[in-house]
Subunit: 528 residues, 2 copies
């Protein structure tokens, strides 16, 4: 699209060190700069009075450097592999500065002008990436104010809420005497549908935002049905089908099936094609939460993992994750560009019917023009660049999984499908013992291992050199017992093999200091 | 709080020219740089293919400068007085750069550390500004993870949704067998309450986000009851009381009364004390939408206008409006710090019960640490600085109202209470005729004037030198007939008396070019 030279995308990524160089050089080697506890830091932020007098900017800047910047988290560090953060491409910073200086408000054309077609173009590009319709389709809809290929929002949670809000309003659309749920509310909608509830069905690995969605939209969290997964953390289709029947037997309607393309905890992808078949059979909305995995579509090598996503009625896609844009940018794409009429709103002073104002169909009101940063990423990095980033992340995760498997002290819990994996401390000799121990003994050992995982994760976080997160999973191998695991996300292209080795080495060292936990574990194992 | 010198806040505000100097110098004199239509601009953003190859940053930067920056809106221009935008204090730009480089995610402490206590402090300061509890109260709650004095979000719309989500969940809390609306949904909640709907009552001047709120939360827009206002655009208490009775007669419950502290279109403040009395009498939630007017509390001279706000259960407060922070920062404050338990959510990998993670009670998930910019404004500008800005805006609006009244061509429609006013083209001689004309003739003249207001506003916007917005109101003086008006917001401290004179002069010139509209109007008036 823009005259571009075929430059490898790695060239566009500078070290995280450069990005924070002028901010806090000491963050270069540490994920957090010092061992101050949250309680200590709170003391610097404990005055509740409005500051009466102005402060010199220079004084404030020093205060900020010492108390805030120095005590922030180096999310761009290549050793910070516990959450969905990464180093940013270097061009994002100067571009974000322009964005802030322009301070556009994309709710309406009058305060954003060119940002309006730019945002619509970005949505069209990602829509095409997912759905792949033809040129005439995009020519017709890209700038058509009576429709929308998607909406921008502040992140995946609002994207999920927006998608299911739309699905809810479509299912309970105006019909004869009934004015639609948007006008008459949930109570009358269910009376009209002659049922007692609307359910969203999704695997147990669903992001917690879906529970929030069920709450906010008036469905109730009990009507978010969390379905069992298979051994690979993908929704179990038989359980899903049974759950659908149960919902109908309870005189409820299935509002939507939600497929996950990259679960938050394990990075797995649901069987989207089979889910699409089932949704079609039932006649319900099919939403795919691709907040994490969506950009896998950029990769010729790995795109197949998303198969079936093109059959979704709506797709959540986060830009501040694997599009490497700064925090606070999400999107939801709609297969049917006219679906947004279900959530359209107007006002007298803006958003008049027929206007091109983007605010007519967003959940949020005033919004910054962050689509510009997504546009920049798409152009400067290009499909080939994102492909490289995605492929490398998946390869790196596979390498780390191999390292964990080969390591005498660790047990791989979930192998990576994309670039997320989980593992825990569990030395080979103990794994061997557990394989023949009585179930009660296995359970007890697991409880001990849980404590060690928590202690190691906290010690590692406090030491501030590297960081992994933790969660709890219930793998089939332990008959569904919930166990604590380390969770690793490999999306930072600066994370090297050496750093991954360092992570394991550091964990090993932390374990060796946990005598109070290790000794009883050894005694227990001796009895196994 | 910080060692601050008593420097006048005006010193902190540099001209909008400086802010955009290195971006697009040509925007200095024009609100928009060129007369390109949206349709023309769309051509630059019409490729829906993912760019295959990377682009050089320098090439992309040129593209951006020519097609986006040059075609954006100069929202910081002192002649851009049509929407709630302003020039930013100069220190916001370098601080925002730090914020973006740090790229914290305030959903959890692990990705934000010091940003967590900082955000809680900002909420405490604004809570104290509104509610004014004592030191022990704030010492107890400021950093108490089991409670929250408020939540940050992307803007006023999400703030309003959050406040009424909380109100809804409190009204329909778990009770005996009933598990609460958060778990069981709206249908069972209303069965439990033995009623057929929940209503939100607010004046006709309500922001459109409240209709969205009623839709999203499952209440239905029909249950947003828009109550008549008095001649000053404040909610009419008698009508409000009658509306409450009607709601109850329809076997519905009043979920909340919403008072507006600074309406979007006219800047008026509802009688908050009387509304608080009524809410107390009914036993319903009292929410105040102070997205615009909240910062009036900083002013010793004008604080009285907000009287009664301290009795609200929740208050919406936007930072990207009159706290002069870049786009995308809102808040809702809760009088009762423990109220947030009604909207609490947890997950296994973060937000564990008892954690200090801010994401346990936000509608959004991942969020940037924008509280930092509010913190900066509060410290660097200080209460005295914000006071100056607020007072000047109110004075300037009064001056502009006087200019409109004194002008032979214009009619003031709503006098400013804060810093927003509306007026229209209606020359003195015509006003005089209308005062004695038959009602049908007045109506017809108004329709002609409507066309002129629209044409002038569009011509002024297209010329790109100055900008006012427009809306429609139904003033008592025209017996409730809806008429089009110019709407002016005076929040930019750089807007001078000379610029305001220029706005009227330019409008006069645009009118003089509208022969096709003016000639029939004169003919019509001659028959009056």
């Amino acid at each position: 699209m823009l005259p571009g030279a075929p430059v490898g995308c790695a060239a566009y990524l500078v070290t995280a060190m450069t990005i924070t160089h002028d901010l806090a050089g000491f963050l270069q080697t540490h994920v957090v700069a010092s061992g101050a506890t949250l309680e200590e830091i709170e003391k610097d932020f404990s005055d509740s009075q409005v500051p009466e007098q102005p402060t010199f900017v220079s004084d404030y800047a020093s205060f900020l450097k010492d108390t805030l910047v120095a005590q922030s988290v180096h999310t761009a560090s290549p050793g910070f592999i516990g959450h969905m953060t990464s180093a940013m491409p270097y061009f994002m910073l100067p571009l974000a500065r322009i964005l802030i200086a322009l301070n556009q408000n994309t709710v309406k054309v009058e305060t954003s002008k060119a940002f309006t077609p730019l945002e619509r173009q970005v949505l069209a590009i990602l829509h095409r990436l997912i759905y792949g319709f033809d040129d005439p389709f995009y020519s017709r809809f890209i700038h058509d104010s009576r429709s929308a290929l998607g909406v921008f929002c502040s992140g995946g949670t609002v994207a999920n809420i927006t998608a299911l809000w739309l699905a809810r309003n479509q299912l309970c659309a105006p019909d004869g005497e009934f004015g639609g749920i948007a006008n008459e509310g949930m109570f009358k909608a269910l009376k009209h549908l002659n049922c007692e509830g609307l359910a969203i069905l999704v695997s147990k690995r669903a992001h917690y935002s879906l529970a929030k969605t069920a709450d906010v939209l008036g469905l109730g969290r009990d009507n978010l049905v969390l379905v069992d997964t298979d051994d690979n953390n993908r929704v179990d289709m038989r359980s899903l089908r049974n759950a659908c029947s149960r919902v109908e037997n309870e005189n409820k309607r299935v509002l939507a099936l939600v497929g996950i393309a990259g679960t938050t905890e394990t990075g797995t992808v649901d069987p989207l094609e089979e889910m699409a078949d089932l949704a079609q059979e039932i006649g319900c909305h099919f939403h795919v939460d691709a907040a994490w995995g969506g950009p896998t579509l950029f990769s010729d090598t790995n795109r197949w993992r998303m198969r079936g996503i093109e059959r979704a009625d709506s797709v959540t896609f986060d830009a501040h994750k694997q599009l490497y844009v700064p925090m606070g940018v999400g999107m939801v794409l709609f297969k049917d560009p006219q679906a947004v009429s279900a959530i359209e709103h107007h006002a007298a002073y803006i958003l008049r019917p027929g206007s091109k104002d983007l605010g007519t169909h967003t959940l949020e009101g005033s919004r910054p023009g962050k689509a510009m940063l997504v546009h920049a990423g798409l152009n400067i990095i290009g499909r080939r660049g994102y492909e490289l980033l995605i492929d490398q992340g998946i390869e790196r995760a596979q390498q780390f999984a191999d390292m964990v498997k080969a390591h005498p002290d660790f047990e791989l819990i979930t192998a990576p499908e994309l670039n997320i994996l989980t593992y825990r401390y569990n030395p080979a000799w103990l794994q061997h013992k557990m394989s023949t121990a009585r179930p009660a003994m296995v359970e007890e050992i697991n409880r001990h291992l849980d404590d060690i995982v928590v202690a190691v994760q906290k010690a590692q976080r406090a030491a501030g050199k590297t960081f992994v997160s933790r969660t709890s999973l219930a793998p089939a191998r332990y008959k569904g017992q919930k166990i604590n695991v380390f969770r690793v996300v490999l999306a930072n292209p600066l994370t090297t093999h050496a750093i991954l080795e360092e992570v394991l080495k550091e964990q090993q060292e932390h374990v060796s200091r946990l005598r109070a936990l290790i000794v009883p574990l050894r005694e227990l194992a001796a009895r196994a």
